[in-house]
């Protein structure tokens, strides 16, 4: 009888046979083992499983997260140093951050009109083995009881799982070292005299951690790190999908898909969106979850700072669902996580069509070929060609269909005005200070995307009213110009010198307020049909467009 070793998100090795349907386990990758012990890959294994007693120091963790897992499960912690005392092993070293005003590094954080003093927390090993196991560490009953030990356990185990997925199964050896992870990060701030978590988790390159002079206890970090904070109620390190997402960022590294570059439509930040799309895809495929961040990102307090909500809505659902229908350019907002959903949904559709094993192979093959400045079109083509190379022309055509459905192959970044605000997200326009003296445009910064409107017959003037914010949700300092062109996106010519860039807009109007009036100087009727509008931010500050209304006269 053929048997299967199932590589699951719990990291439990199970033997699967045929016939009994009583206990199925979600499997990310299945490897069939023949009589000689050779392994070949299989997909879509639907077989019964029998739990094998895990090897290694034992612990109990949530397979997915505290809400969506029925209970904790028993796991063996792999590759720990011998004898096991703390969560430090061949492929992961996990600490949680201790809030300590006396020992923490102190900083003064200057900004216009004032300053805030901050104190950083101190990474320390909290989880300690007892009799060689970690079974005494249980999920904290309340957030106040969270001393970091359970987060460390969860982190260590899932880092072992995802490391094995990339290294053992797919041969990607970049993280065959003890990658640092730090959980429970919080910062003391003088503005509220309290330790404040950050609603975030992140991958941080080595250079960001090597700040001995700041007094951080990070001089012993071994290289890059993945770091996790959360909200007052939810520790992001408890969410397996977030762990796999950040680990995938670490796999991709700091010099792939991190570029923001200029093309003939303005600034292009889609490489960052791709970085997020792949982080979500691999997190999802490994956990069998189409939605990433259901625990960490749903029902969270809205972007609070020092305990004060910075938005009217008390709850937000920000988990990213890869089955949601997204399309370019309609769903672009220039925020990389939100924009990533357009691409990750195509990858997920590919997975549903081809099966996880082949889809994962294609996605890995494609992403490794991408560069700093690859955008949606380049990544789509790389994926289609990867499918052709591995599976042939027919499957490549099928994969191409997923990208065509979302207009990802040759998307012009002109967002329909009607789509502005539809996702309840602002559209970001950088100020002049971000790109500094590398900006070739004279006195303004073009956006990551343009806008599109349909001008009706007989129109002599279009008045565009822009709802905008900047800073911590406050009113914007608006100093913009609107550039208008009939028929298609405004094209930029980067020119010969810094400051010498030009564009081919037909009409350009300036505004220090929230309205732009598009009209011919002669008062003649505007051509009816599709017009593109580019917002050129002349302010140093970032402008965030939250709404846009047009009146045609």
């Amino acid at each position: 009888m053929k048997s299967f070793i199932v590589f699951s998100a719990t990291g439990i090795l199970v033997m699967a046979g045929c016939g009994d349907d009583s206990a199925k386990t979600p499997a990310d990758v299945a490897v069939s083992v023949d009589a000689e012990g050779d392994t070949t890959a299989e997909t879509d294994v639907a077989a019964d499983v029998v739990e094998v007693v895990p090897e290694g120091p034992l612990a109990r963790i949530f397979p997915l997260d505290p809400i969506h897992s029925e209970s904790t499960v028993l796991v063996g912690l792999k590759n720990l140093a011998v004898p096991p005392t703390r969560l430090e092993g061949s492929f992961a070293r996990v600490r949680s951050c201790t809030p300590d005003l006396d020992r923490g590094a102190k900083n003064t954080f200057n900004f216009q009109g004032g300053s805030i003093d901050t104190v950083s927390c101190i990474p320390e090993f909290k989880a300690q083995a007892v009799d060689g196991n970690f079974l005494h560490i249980e999920p904290p009953a309340t957030p106040a009881d969270d001393n970091g030990a359970f987060a460390e356990l969860t982190m260590y185990h899932h880092m072992s799982v995802v490391h094995s997925y990339y290294s053992d199964f797919y041969g990607i050896k970049d993280r065959d070292h003890s990658l640092d992870a730090i959980t429970n990060i919080s910062t003391w701030t003088s503005s509220c005299d309290a330790w404040t978590p950050w609603t975030n988790a992140a991958y941080v390159p080595r250079e960001g951690l090597d700040y001995v002079m700041l007094g951080l206890s990070l001089s012993d970090t071994l290289g890059d790190a993945i770091v996790f904070s959360g909200t007052a109620a939810r520790n992001f390190a408890f969410d397996t999908t977030v762990i796999y997402h950040e680990y995938t960022h670490a796999i991709l590294g700091a010099t792939r898909l991190s570029g923001v570059f200029l093309d003939d439509q303005g600034f292009n930040n889609l490489p960052g969106a791709l970085n997020e799309a792949y982080a979500d895809y691999f997190s999802g495929t490994l956990t069998e979850q189409a939605t990433v961040g259901q625990y960490a990102l749903n029902d969270i307090a809205a972007a609070d700072f020092c305990g004060a909500a910075a938005a009217d809505e008390p709850l937000e659902n920000l988990a990213r669902d890869m089955t949601a229908v997204r399309r370019c350019p309609d769903d672009l907002v220039a925020e990389v996580h939100a924009d990533s959903e357009i691409f990750s949904s195509a990858l997920w559709a590919m997975r549903e069509s081809l099966g996880k094993l082949h889809a994962d192979s294609i996605a890995i093959y494609a992403v490794l070929q991408l560069t700093e400045e690859s955008d949606f079109g380049v990544a789509a083509m790389a994926t289609i060609e990867a499918a052709r190379d591995i599976l042939g022309d027919e499957k490549a055509a099928q994969v191409a269909g997923f990208f065509e459905e979302r207009n990802l192959i040759a998307c012009e970044r002109t967002v329909p005005v009607a789509s502005v605000g539809a996702r309840e997200l602002s559209l970001r326009h950088e100020g002049t200070r971000v790109f500094g003296d590398s900006n070739p445009f004279p006195g303004y910064t073009p956006g990551y995307m343009q806008y599109e409107m349909m001008v009706p017959e007989g129109t002599t003037r279009a008045t565009i009213t822009i709802g905008a914010q900047s800073g911590f949700g406050g009113p914007a300092t608006v100093d913009i110009e609107g550039a208008f062109k009939f028929g298609g996106a405004i094209r930029y010519d980067l020119g010969q010198t810094v400051g010498g860039a030009t564009h081919d807009a037909e009409l350009t109007v300036f505004s220090n307020g929230n309205t732009l009036k598009m009209q011919n100087a002669s008062g003649a009727v505007l051509r009816a049909g599709r017009w593109a509008m580019a917002i050129h931010n002349r302010s140093s500050r970032t402008l965030r467009v939250v709404s846009m209304d047009i009146v045609f006269e």
Partner: protein, 257 residues
């Protein structure tokens, strides 16, 4: 992005001009030719001539720069995948990097699963260099098959111009002081590296710059700042890694995403 010579996508491309100013007619074998609407830019013509009619390629929206090509089968000398990729890239440096040099960043040999078992591919990542100095944000990847032949590549081939200098006037400590003054944060000179910021204009020179890491809030907000190594101007700043909440250094205004 515009694409040519791709049978799979030909229907979608009907009527798409590869370059309004392109001088050459579509070459033989181009499936998008024949309508009279499609012209091929000089660089596209070069790609076809060099790699054959089976090549499938894409270009930047202006049609001036090659971004990726597939369907190749080119031998390259070398003892391993990395050296073969370097030989290939150097041979085609005009197309891949506007004449820049290359340095080996890494080689990946993923275990890819197809219907007939494992598919062996080596994917080599090369950084661009000018006069031995790394060009910031410019990378080429070269993919080789199991026989060691180059089958595809992708590249950040946008222009980078001539370096304005190869020796800094400002040292790393000076660059760090510029960062500290400009943003009121601390910066460590020992972690600064010398790079060339590629030109953003068609003919502008690349600028020698110090890439200085800095931290606004430890473990929370980490940034790169690029300082002109000749005149000390701030060229650009940006978050050090993905998922960071703060996208700009909040030195003079507090901003979050």
């Amino acid at each position: 992005m515009r694409i040519f010579a791709l049978p799979l996508w030909a229907p979608m491309l009907a009527g798409l001009l590869l370059s309004p100013g392109g001088a050459n007619a579509a070459p033989p074998g181009s499936p998008v030719g024949g309508s009279g609407a499609v012209t091929v830019t000089p660089v596209a013509g070069t790609v076809l001539a060099r790699f054959g009619p089976g090549v499938r390629a894409s270009f930047d929206p202006s049609g001036q720069y090659l971004r990726q090509a597939f369907g190749l089968s080119e031998a390259a000398a070398g003892a391993d995948a990395g050296s073969r990729a370097l030989v290939f890239a150097a041979k085609h440096a005009d197309l891949l990097a506007q004449g820049a040099g290359f340095m080996l960043l890494d080689v990946k040999s993923p275990t890819l699963r197809g219907p007939n078992g494992v598919v062996r591919r080596d994917i080599v990542r090369l950084g661009h260099t000018l006069r031995g100095i790394p060009v910031e944000g410019r990378v080429t990847t070269v993919t080789l098959n199991g026989e060691g032949r180059v089958i595809s590549f992708a590249t950040d081939a946008m222009g980078h111009g001539t370096p304005n200098a190869t020796t800094p006037t400002l040292d790393a400590a000076g660059a760090s002081r510029v960062v500290e003054t400009a943003y009121r944060v601390r910066a460590l000179p020992q972690n600064a590296t010398l790079v060339l910021m590629p030109s953003v204009g068609r003919g502008a020179s690349s600028r020698l710059a110090w890439k200085v890491p800095t931290v606004a809030i430890a473990l929370v907000a980490h940034f790169w700042v690029w300082i002109d190594a000749v005149d000390g101007r701030v060229l650009k700043h940006g978050p050090m890694g993905p998922d960071q909440g703060l996208l700009t250094i909040p030195a003079h205004s507090a901003e979050t995403r």
